[in-house]
């Protein structure tokens, strides 16, 4: 059975295609969304999900969140005794999801379709693929998130020639895709996006507001305090969600035994967010331009991603398109559902027999070239696209290049991905060198063929027609991580003890109570302490039934105190 996974910045989810429909799989807490958070408990075991998220402000140095933002980089995060790469932290999340799926389906699960932001570049995609392998999956396919959302949305939609735009603003990434459905074909016409724009950035605005407000009181010490920073982030998240419902909210943090409160209005947040909101425009424009569609030709605007719940984002969308967006799908489950549909497609499920999906490569792929500058000198490092962005894949394209210098004995092509005019600002994927006979400048022609397959694997062939000389480059992995390395790292991660699944609910409840203890002062803090004491004494009795009862009482009491907990 192939599973479909949404590995989000903030939350992750897993689903399967079963009995002719996409089904989401609940985690051990009974929820469909699992926070993308990893922590190390005091006993050295690994915590994933809600328990880890709740411990973030009480154990800032033992918790990691939002690591998807660094996917594909070598940024190390220290947790307990070990340093982790973003892909390793993601692997731990994936492993927890895998365990949930196995418990739910009652069989081992080894194959997965993982959703990635459409605008992830090659490095980020490869890192995601490795994360899947580190978690023990065979990654059958990476699917673009908005494409997945469209599948979830469009499969039910049997209209004739429907065109729509998916606007996906999640916790950390922003994607836009324009799609067309006709006669069982789901065709992505164009994708664009911003890899670093999402709910987290709006939180940062609120954190900055709080810091400015209390700068004088917190001083130097406040600036570097990790626990304070996490508490500010949590307060910002809570406050921002409140502002989705109400015109104003009070952000409160407790630090060193003192409470700090600051009231923010939705209007003030919107003013501060003007810069972020204006960054929504460019990808939308680009996706429309690339798909050669006018707004009027779109049948629907589909919103996906938790951050589209913010009224200011909805208003911005309405203004941009001159109409109201459709809100008919569940914004934070759509991607996992769509990934599950892709899993069904991949398995050639009979119910999906008539559906064919085609996607595009959202980035241009090309080589570096030189040209004669205005002064007659040669400028190098210019980007020349071979496969232009938003070409339907699999695709294969050829471009010819000529020598610039007389007597040149070889040509070296750097292979790049991106849209910048100068290759230095694009992502380098590899190098390929081919010998040529010495001739006057411009006399030797070299043909460069790019082949981009359905899994996003790029193959570059260069040929000198005059001599018949050929060279080939398969861009597997430019970070040089080979099979063996992945295997050892997988073994290392497997060594890490994971907190038992059946204790996860109690663990998460305790973590939340622990955080609440620190989030309040005075009477309410004493109250939380009493709740914790009661709960611990029930747990000590080792009676699962009364533990369940006590847990729900504890959670209800905490809900009363701070409002419902959120994912």
């Amino acid at each position: 059975m192939i599973v479909g996974i949404d590995l989000g910045t903030t939350n992750s989810a897993i689903g399967v295609w079963r009995d002719g429909e996409a089904q989401l799989i609940p985690n051990s807490l009974g929820q469909f969304l699992t926070p993308s958070a990893v922590g190390i408990a005091d006993d050295g075991t690994v915590l994933v999900g809600m328990a880890a998220r709740e411990r973030q402000s009480t154990h800032p140095n033992d918790t990691a969140t939002a690591f998807k933002r660094y996917m594909g980089s070598q940024k190390q995060t220290r947790l307990g005794q070990r340093e982790f790469l973003p892909e390793e932290l993601s692997a731990l999340v994936l492993r927890a999801l895998k365990a949930d799926a196995e418990a739910f389906l009652g069989e081992p699960v080894t194959e997965a379709v993982i959703a990635v932001p459409a605008y992830f570049n090659d490095k980020q995609r490869k890192a995601t693929r490795r994360a899947g392998e580190l978690a023990g999956f065979k990654v059958e396919r990476l699917i673009n998130e908005p494409t997945a959302a469209a599948l979830a949305y469009g499969i039910g939609e049997r209209g004739d020639e429907v065109r729509f735009l998916v606007f996906d603003l999640g916790g950390g990434t922003f994607d836009v895709s324009v799609l067309e459905l006709f006669d069982g074909v789901v065709e992505v016409r164009a994708s664009a996006g911003d890899n670093r724009l999402g709910g987290e950035d709006f939180n940062d605005l609120l954190v900055d507001m709080l810091r400015r407000r209390f700068e004088a009181k917190w001083g130097e010490a406040g600036r570097d305090d990790a626990a304070l920073h996490q508490r500010l982030r949590a307060a910002a998240e809570r406050g921002r969600r409140e502002l989705s419902e109400k015109p104003s909210a009070t952000l409160s943090v407790v630090w060193k035994g003192q409470a700090y409160e600051h009231e923010v209005t939705a209007e003030a947040l919107e003013m501060a967010a003007e810069g972020l909101l204006s960054r929504l425009r460019d990808p939308v424009l680009r996706s429309l331009r690339d798909s050669d569609l006018r707004i009027g030709a779109l049948d629907e605007i589909v919103l996906v991603g938790g951050a589209t719940r913010m009224p200011m984002v909805r208003r911005a969308v309405t203004r941009m398109f001159g109409r109201f967006p459709a809100a008919s799908i569940n914004v934070d489950e759509a991607i996992a559902r769509g990934a599950a549909v892709q899993a069904g497609l991949k398995a050639r499920d009979a119910a999906l027999n008539e559906v064919v999906l085609t996607d595009v490569c959202p980035y241009s792929l090309g080589v570096d070239v030189g040209e004669h500058g205005p002064n007659g000198q040669i400028r190098t490092g210019l980007f020349s696209p071979v496969i232009e962005r938003n070409t339907t894949i699999p695709a294969s394209r050829v471009e010819s290049f000529r020598t610039l210098r007389a007597g040149q004995r070889q040509i070296e092509f750097g292979v790049y991905q991106g849209e910048a005019r100068w290759v230095a600002e694009n992502v380098k994927l590899g190098d390929i060198v081919i010998p040529i006979p010495a001739r006057p400048a411009g006399e030797i022609e070299v043909k460069c063929r790019f082949t981009y397959d359905i899994n996003g694997l790029l193959e570059v062939d260069v040929e000198v027609p005059l001599t018949g000389e050929r060279r080939q480059l398969v861009i597997v992995d430019e970070d040089n991580t080979d099979e063996a390395d992945v295997a050892t790292r997988r073994a290392e991660l497997a060594q890490l003890k994971v907190h038992p699944r059946d204790e996860a609910s109690n663990r998460a409840a305790m973590a939340r109570a622990g955080r609440c203890y620190e989030d309040f002062i005075g009477e309410r803090r004493d109250y939380v302490a009493r709740l914790i004491g009661q709960f611990e004494s029930v747990l000590d009795r080792q009676d699962p039934r009364s533990a369940i009862l006590a847990r729900s009482e504890l959670l209800a009491a905490l809900d009363q105190l701070e409002g419902e907990s959120f994912l």
Partner: protein
């Protein structure tokens, strides 16, 4: 290539009907699935894209062949009546854009009015709409270039508003916007060149002074000897500010280019003469000894 025509690949007799092309493509797609047959899919895709663009051209041609409605106000009124009499919600925006264009087209330049007109364009409510925004962005770039230099004082504001500098490093930036950016850059360099302290000030001002032939005798004598600063300036401009060269009087630049080349030649001839003379002298002296 397989040697099949695009229509054979699509399994569809030639047609301009987009819907029929789509249907044929969808049908073939299920046979040449992109997952199983990459080469077959690419062939099909190519055929599909070609067929679609042929059909689009045919549609455009057919549209053009229809009586041009815009040049005949009367029949258009009828057409509007026939359809629902819907008012363009962005009409006001385009009117405001038109006002700016009128100001730019006028002989007399009124900076305050132009700045205000640009500001009015940027602030209309319609600019929140993506399509209006995109059309206005490119349209404005085109108009500013078209009416240059009259619109030059508006360039910085337009560049800032649309963030054109941020997009400058993209290979697909529209030529109009690229034109605006290079003009703005050239203007900035020219401002610096007008400063006496700039090392190429003299050369630049000499070129700005116009053709030597039209000058009075004394002035011509004074400016006519500035070969060296002009040559240095031209060298600098070609390498680092090609935009500036385009904005100078091309005849003047060419005339100076020729003067400099001529002088270079005479200088070379002179050097050759002296070297040769010295050589001859040495030879003669040696022969004497």
């Amino acid at each position: 290539m397989s040697g099949l025509s695009i229509w054979e690949v699509l399994g569809q007799p030639p047609t301009d009907d987009q819907r029929a092309i789509k249907r044929a493509y969808a049908q073939q797609l299920k046979r040449t699935h992109p997952e199983d047959d990459a080469a077959g899919f690419q062939l099909l895709r190519q055929a599909y894209e070609r067929a679609t663009s042929i059909a689009a051209h045919a549609a455009a041609r057919a549209h053009a062949a229809e009586p041009a409605q815009e040049s005949h106000p009367e029949p258009q009124a009828e057409v509007v009546e026939a359809c629902a009499p819907e008012k363009d919600p962005h009409e006001a925006h385009w009117r405001i854009c038109g006002r700016l264009e009128q100001l730019l087209a006028m002989e007399h330049v009124d900076p305050a009015a132009m700045t205000a007109a640009l500001e009015a364009v940027l602030q209309t409510e319609s600019m929140e709409n993506l399509e209006i925004f995109a059309d206005t962005e490119v349209g404005l770039a085109r108009v500013l270039l078209h009416f240059a230099p009259r619109g030059d004082l508006l360039l910085p504001r337009a560049i800032e508003h649309f963030g054109w500098y941020d997009q400058e490093d993209r290979w697909d930036l529209s030529p109009e916007i690229r034109g605006v950016l290079s003009r703005e850059r050239a203007l900035a360099v020219m401002t610096r060149l007008s400063d006496r302290r700039h090392q190429h000030h003299v050369g630049y001002m000499t070129l700005c002074a116009g053709p030597l032939e039209t000058m009075g005798f004394w002035r011509r004598l004074r400016l006519g000897r500035r070969h060296r600063p002009v040559a240095a300036f031209l060298n600098f401009a070609v390498g680092q500010a090609p935009g500036v060269l385009h904005m100078l009087d091309q005849d003047v630049v060419e005339a100076w280019d020729r003067r400099i080349a001529r002088r270079e030649k005479t200088r070379q001839a002179r050097t050759t003469f002296w070297v040769f003379g010295a050589f001859l002298a040495v030879v003669l002296l040696m022969a004497r000894w």
